[in-house]
């Protein structure tokens, strides 16, 4: 399970239908916080949100961008598209993690990062996103109606390594689609919930690494509050403070700053100290 006190946790689920989302909503104790234009759910302690996009690529893109703004998602957020798919070469009930996404409408292909697959022993598969429910299954792989649209937007707002597409096989050639009801889908998902948790845990590990890279150096905020720095001065300050900590871990840079010093004098002082 997710450590509640890890402040860096930030997760967004984009799922087409309620039946596909139900088990995750229960498992991660999310409550509905909005109904229109999309139903949105949220865990009260963690920065974890879920949106029901409805069917199709346009809905997936619209819901992802809506949730991005609504939930004020940072760059370092995990984005997962989860749902049911059809396939001719997997068994109904199999959980698959997508490593290539193609579309019947667009020529670009997407390749979710293999970093997300490490050590989880979940089958990997290509995804073909189509505009209407697939019945022919002419190629190996999984067929869905949202993955491509979701990924095309999510890769712009988060690191590639944190964007994942996870699917459960619900139908195969010859399946009577009218018999795939909400309860059947919930049963398929509940059987795989522990594996879905494992995927998320791996993504959270990657998120922790990224958080450390993106973190401002110690004392950065305090110094910026004391003096007015321009944007480019802040970039330099961030660099100098990072170098300062590496070189003088026991020296507090705040003690180097005189009351009357300007921003450029502060930067000069740090620079001179760091020269040798």
């Amino acid at each position: 399970m997710i450590e509640k006190n890890f402040e860096g946790v930030s997760v967004r689920w984009v799922i087409a239908l309620k039946g596909e989302a139900e088990e995750l909503i229960k498992n991660y104790a999310m409550k509905r916080v909005e109904t229109m234009p999309f139903p949105v759910y949220k865990n009260k302690d963690l920065d974890m949100w879920l949106i029901l996009s409805g069917i199709g690529q346009l809905n997936a893109v619209a819901a992802t961008s809506y949730l991005y703004v609504k939930s004020d998602a940072s760059y370092n957020t995990i984005w997962i598209n989860f749902g049911i798919v059809g396939s001719r070469n997997f068994k109904v009930g199999d959980l698959i993690q997508i490593d290539k996404i193609t579309s019947s409408d667009f020529k670009d292909n997407y390749y979710p990062s293999p970093s997300a697959f490490k050590n989880n022993n979940i089958e990997r598969c290509n995804l073909i996103t189509v505009n209407k429910p697939e019945k022919l299954f002419e190629n190996d792989g999984a067929y869905d109606m949202e993955g491509y649209g979701f990924f095309s937007f999510a890769k712009k707002i988060a690191p590639y390594e944190l964007v994942s597409v996870l699917k459960i096989i619900s139908d195969a050639p010859g399946t009577d689609l009218s018999k795939i009801d909400k309860h059947r889908v919930e049963r398929l998902v509940s059987k795989k919930i522990q594996f879905i948790e494992k995927v998320l845990e791996n993504l959270l590990d990657l998120q922790k690494i990224l958080s450390l890279q993106l973190r401002d150096p110690k004392y950065f905020d305090e110094i910026c509050l004391q003096k007015k720095f321009t944007f480019s001065q802040k970039v330099t300050l961030r660099k100098y403070l990072t170098q300062w900590q590496a070189r003088f871990p026991l020296r507090n840079p705040l003690e180097e700053i005189g009351k009357r010093m300007t921003a450029s004098q502060i930067l000069k002082k740090f620079s001179d100290n760091l020269l040798r």
Binding site: Y160, E161, L206, W244, A246, L275
Partner: protein, 329 residues
């Protein structure tokens, strides 16, 4: 090692691609149109990918042989480099590749014949002039030799062009390929070196400096010509003593006559590369001495650079003929 292979449709069926794929029986192979689909997207994180790099097999379309940067060379008037691979098995903290590429995946161009054709044309163009081809700057060719067989293919090729010098830049101690071939007078096995204590911190996943020296000795005794590359020179609190000890250790083991050339160069980065490195290694003391100069290049202060160059030059002159010394920067 590699559990994911991407292969371009155009080359997936070639002998070389299949030879490489067969070495990773458990890897998932995914077909791609062009390597850029996987290698180029922005928003990828080099450090995360470095934990589990995929292998990309592709066809190089153009730019097989490139001019070496101005001022770079080991004595010849014409200097070129070529890269059959991008990214490296090792994980050196100061490596410019992590600033240059969005991806840490290993990218191998399998159309070696196209490289060889271009190299042959370049040699022909310069006829009687001296010419050097450098490899191992965008990857460590020797470290990846068990997978790529690159050197095994290129040593026989360069044996046909005695006037062209072929430099293999490496930190690897893999010597299998050099045991398979007779020593080539126009091939330099050039070792990147730095003081052992610095290498322990900075040259992650690479063989120790003492193992590199041992391997250089082995290759030199077999008749291969050795290059010593102190590039980059790393500044730290007791750098003089550390470099003096390194030089002494090398020349204790290797005879001067086996050394083809010695070169050294400063640590320098374009600004954007350095910003990424600092983000990846915020606690690196070695990176804390670097500054932006007035040309927008990140380097040590000019006085530090000059002092290091001068000291190393004088120290190396105790062991080697200064005519063998070249600058990389």
């Amino acid at each position: 090692m590699v559990d994911t292979i991407y292969a371009e449709d155009e080359i997936i069926g070639t002998k070389k691609a299949q030879e490489i794929i067969s070495k990773f029986r458990h890897a998932k192979v995914t077909s791609i149109k062009r390597f850029g689909e996987v290698f180029n997207p922005s928003n990828q994180n080099f450090r995360i990918q470095k934990k589990n790099p995929a292998l990309i097999l592709a066809k190089k379309q153009k730019g097989f042989v490139l001019d070496a940067p101005k001022g770079f060379g080991i004595g010849d008037q014409n200097n070129y480099y070529f890269s059959h691979m991008y990214n490296c098995l090792y994980d050196c903290s100061y490596c410019f590749l992590q600033g240059m590429y969005n991806s840490a995946n290993y990218l191998v161009f399998v159309n070696y014949h196209d490289y060889q054709n271009e190299i042959a044309k370049t040699i022909k163009k310069h006829k009687e002039e001296k010419i050097t081809f450098f490899t191992g700057y965008d990857c460590d060719s020797l470290a990846m030799e068990p997978i790529t067989n690159f050197i095994n293919d290129f040593v026989p090729f360069f044996s046909r062009y005695k006037k062209a010098l072929f430099e293999i830049r490496t930190k690897s101690i893999n010597n299998t390929v050099f045991r398979k071939h007779d020593p080539l007078a126009n091939c330099i096995v050039a070792y990147s070196l730095m003081p052992e204590s610095l290498a322990q911190i900075l040259d992650k996943k690479a063989p120790s400096v003492s193992a590199r020296i041992k391997n250089m000795k082995y290759l030199a005794n077999k008749g291969w010509r050795i290059g010593l590359r102190f590039d980059p020179l790393i500044y730290c609190s007791n750098w003089k003593a550390q470099y003096a000890e390194l030089f002494a250790n090398i020349f204790k083991e290797i005879k001067e006559e086996n050394i083809h050339s010695v070169s050294f160069g400063p640590l320098r980065f374009p600004k954007s590369f350095f910003n990424k490195l600092l983000q990846y290694y915020p606690t690196s003391e070695e990176l804390s001495f670097l500054r932006s100069n007035d040309k927008g290049i990140i380097s040590y202060d000019q006085s530090i650079e000059n002092e290091m160059n001068e000291y190393c030059r004088l120290e190396l002159m105790k062991y080697s003929d200064a005519r063998k010394f070249f600058s990389c920067g």
